[in-house]
């Protein structure tokens, strides 16, 4: 086997996995890439906020370990996702250079790596905090791998709506790590991330739909068209904003968070409105190279970071 090997492997799912990996050429960075480090930053942050917001205290070492376990678990789910999606990753230009389609890590190695980290992270959480938090952590990994990756992603344009739940678990797990249970606040944090996910990903899919189409992933713009997707971005943003105000309305947070959530929400609605009213043809395809969708995608990332940061600030001053 050599580096130029380009044999196509039938993976039994109607896809293919080019090229064959070359044993031993992976670097440490390739293994880190398997964990989807960019996604992890959001997971770490929202998990930490869940931990911070929870009533009660947790020793800093155990708190650090809980956030580490959440991070490793999310990375493990990402590695298993890359193993399963190696056929479509090879087709999409955005993911073609990932370690498995790039031939630097063998698929089986990535799967083993992911499973080891998944089991290790759940055990670490149980050891450092409590069984309930470990259970929710295991549930989140299972949801991402089995419900989103293996079941929904290739079958329905609602894949990220339901699958978005997987990314909404970290604040709940952080809360559970401290309290050993779940309350109204972590459920609200879960719902905020859950309703944030569709407009975030649909903004991306508006300008990356060619990639998804080529790979046969039924993202909303591929199946229902850009016009329908634009409307859905708007609808979900309008649903999201009142939800973000609920913690303030219910007296669970103070005005620092409430005013921040309102201002950030109005900004998100403005971006979604620009996506909806972007100069487009009859099918809803952008005539501006999807500039509003790109801006909305960037804003959505900053939005969630700042919203959760406002929660933290409010927690200290409330």
């Amino acid at each position: 086997m050599n580096e130029t090997a380009t044999a196509v492997i039938d993976d039994g799912r109607g896809g293919s996995t080019p090229p064959l990996a070359v044993s031993g050429i992976s670097s440490a960075a390739d293994w880190i890439t398997l964990l989807k480090p960019r996604v992890l930053t959001l997971v770490v942050f929202t998990g930490w906020i869940g931990l911070l917001m929870a009533p009660g205290t947790l020793h800093p070492v155990l708190g650090f370990t809980a956030v580490l376990a959440i991070t490793v678990a999310a990375g493990a789910a990402g590695a298993i996702n890359m193993w399963y999606d190696r056929d479509i990753d090879a087709i999409m230009s955005r993911t073609a250079r990932r370690p498995i389609p790039g031939g630097r890590i063998e698929a089986g190695e990535a799967l083993g790596f992911g499973i080891t980290l998944a089991v290790g992270s759940v055990m670490l959480m149980a050891l450092a905090t409590n069984i309930f938090a470990a259970f929710v952590l295991a549930l989140s990994i299972g949801f991402y791998v089995f419900i989103y990756t293996m079941w929904l992603k290739r079958r329905t344009p609602q894949n990220i709506v339901i699958g978005g739940a997987a990314g909404a678990f970290p604040p709940v797990i952080g809360w559970a790590a401290v309290t050993g249970g779940i309350d109204v606040m972590p459920v609200l944090l879960f719902l905020i991330v859950f309703f944030w996910t569709p407009p975030h990903f649909w903004a991306l899919s508006l300008y990356a739909h060619a990639d998804y189409k080529r790979a046969g992933v039924p993202m909303l713009p591929v199946v229902r068209g850009a016009k329908h997707t634009r409307r859905n971005v708007m609808v979900y943003t309008v649903l999201l904003v009142p939800l973000t105000l609920a913690p303030w309305a219910m007296g669970l947070t103070g005005p620092v968070y409430g005013i921040s959530a309102l201002a950030l929400g109005l900004g998100f609605i403005w971006h979604s409105w620009r996506v909806l009213t972007d100069r487009q043809n009859a099918a809803g395809v952008s005539q501006t190279k999807d500039a509003p969708a790109r801006a909305a995608f960037r804003y959505s990332i900053a939005y969630l970071f700042v919203l959760f940061a406002a929660l933290a600030v409010d927690h200290f001053v409330h």
Binding site: G24, I25, S26, S27, A28, V61, L62
Partner: protein, 53 residues
């Protein structure tokens, strides 16, 4: 015809990558040991104080 110079370069690059992976593995193992030591100390400290860890 085999290009020995190119093979040597490729071999050196592979060795460098392997060395990087080994050092990373060492770092991870050291960090895990330290973490488990710290968790054990915190848990034992809490038990000795009569509380729950």
């Amino acid at each position: 015809m085999v290009d020995h110079a190119a093979l040597k370069l490729e071999d050196a690059a592979l060795k460098k990558r392997r060395r990087g992976r080994n050092w990373a593995m060492l770092g991870v193992l050291a960090a895990i040991s330290l973490l488990f030591y710290a968790i054990a100390m915190v848990k034992m400290g809490a038990i000795l104080k009569g509380g729950t860890p």
